[in-house]
């Protein structure tokens, strides 16, 4: 029998997962899935979808690079570093798959031209940028906190919409692509749960994890909204836009 002493972060993990599941119940990606199912999805929209998802996955190298600098020797058991390495490898595989598919469909002739395509550009003053910088800023926190905020937040939401898309997306290849990513994304959520249960125990850490989890979930949902609007050709949402002074470093 497992006691709460052995799993000090169990309640937090459960709470974070519940919040993410609630956020994942309806996301902007549902509109993308519905449009695809209704047969209203053009080739260009399909390109837009893969391009935006690829852009995000590419930027994860930048995020994980920052995080990796903050894993201190012997701070956690070797399993934690291993799980983090696996997560980097898996997200890199997903990035490669998205790139493969766009090249295979000849939406760009080469990877270099794909990097230069307007659909795949990373803009700093966008919601994708906001989400990425939010994740990168987690490098300032211990690894257990950022795994709590990311793997039990946006990763759980990603798992939910990927499951729906994988089940119902009519294009066979893209259906297979999303389907093949499910096992790894699910594993990231489970890895996050394991790490939070074991290693988030101090009251200050619990509070930080809750607060940062809420921020990353919010920013990820903004990213999804921006992506869905771009894919479906809807006007950009301006309400609630945050403006930043140019002289802030």
């Amino acid at each position: 029998m497992t006691s709460s002493i052995e799993k000090p972060g169990a309640a937090l993990a459960e709470q974070l997962l519940k919040q993410s599941e609630a956020d994942a119940a309806i996301t902007p990606m549902d509109a993308v899935r519905d449009a695809a199912r209704a047969g209203e999805f053009t080739n260009d929209q399909c390109f837009r979808l893969l391009a935006r998802l690829w852009t995000l996955k590419r930027m994860m190298y930048y995020v994980y690079g920052g995080w990796a600098q903050g894993i201190n020797l012997n701070e956690y058991p070797p399993a934690v570093a291993y799980l983090f390495g696996k997560q980097i490898h898996d997200d890199s595989t997903h990035e490669m798959q998205l790139c493969d598919e766009m090249l295979r469909r000849r939406w760009a002739p080469t990877q270099k031209t794909l990097f230069a395509h307007p659909y795949t550009q990373f803009g700093t003053a966008t919601r994708t940028g906001s989400y990425i910088f939010c994740l990168r800023a987690l490098a300032n926190y211990p690894h257990n906190i950022r795994i709590a905020a990311h793997n039990l937040g946006p990763k759980a939401i990603e798992l939910a919409w990927t499951e729906k898309l994988a089940k119902l997306f009519p294009d066979e290849t893209i259906h297979a692509l999303f389907q093949s990513q499910l096992a790894e994304t699910r594993s990231h959520v489970m890895m996050g749960k394991f790490q939070v249960e074991q290693f988030v125990s101090k009251p200050v850490d619990i509070e930080l994890a809750k607060r940062l989890g809420a921020e990353t979930r919010r920013d990820y949902l903004f990213f999804l909204e921006e992506t869905a609007r771009f894919v479906l050709g809807m006007a950009e949402e301006k309400a609630g836009e945050v403006t930043v002074q140019a002289d802030i470093d």
């Binding site: 595989t93 490669m96 798959q97 790139c99 493969d100 090249l103 295979r104 002739p109 080469t110 990877q111 270099k112 290849t173 297979a176 692509l177 389907q179 093949s180 499910l182 096992a183 790894e184």
Partner: protein
Amino acid sequence: MPTLKIDHAKCTECRMCYVVCREIEINAVVVAPTSQHFFEIDERCTYPGCTVCLMYCPAAGSIVETETGRSVVPPPPEVWTENRRWPRLP
């Protein structure tokens, strides 16, 4: 029909073949859309015109000729020639 294939019993999934194939813009090495995410070589492969992946592959026997099943890692002498190391531009 691809002229090369990957022997997954020997491949270490180091991704060097993927990286170099992307770099020279042939894009024949792809991640299979299965849950194992194995690397595969598709019909865009121009072997024996290009042999660049063979030069970088560190795992002996992990890339083989599709028709003959012959291992080409490390590259046999006849593919290790100056005019086959890189796709030649016309």
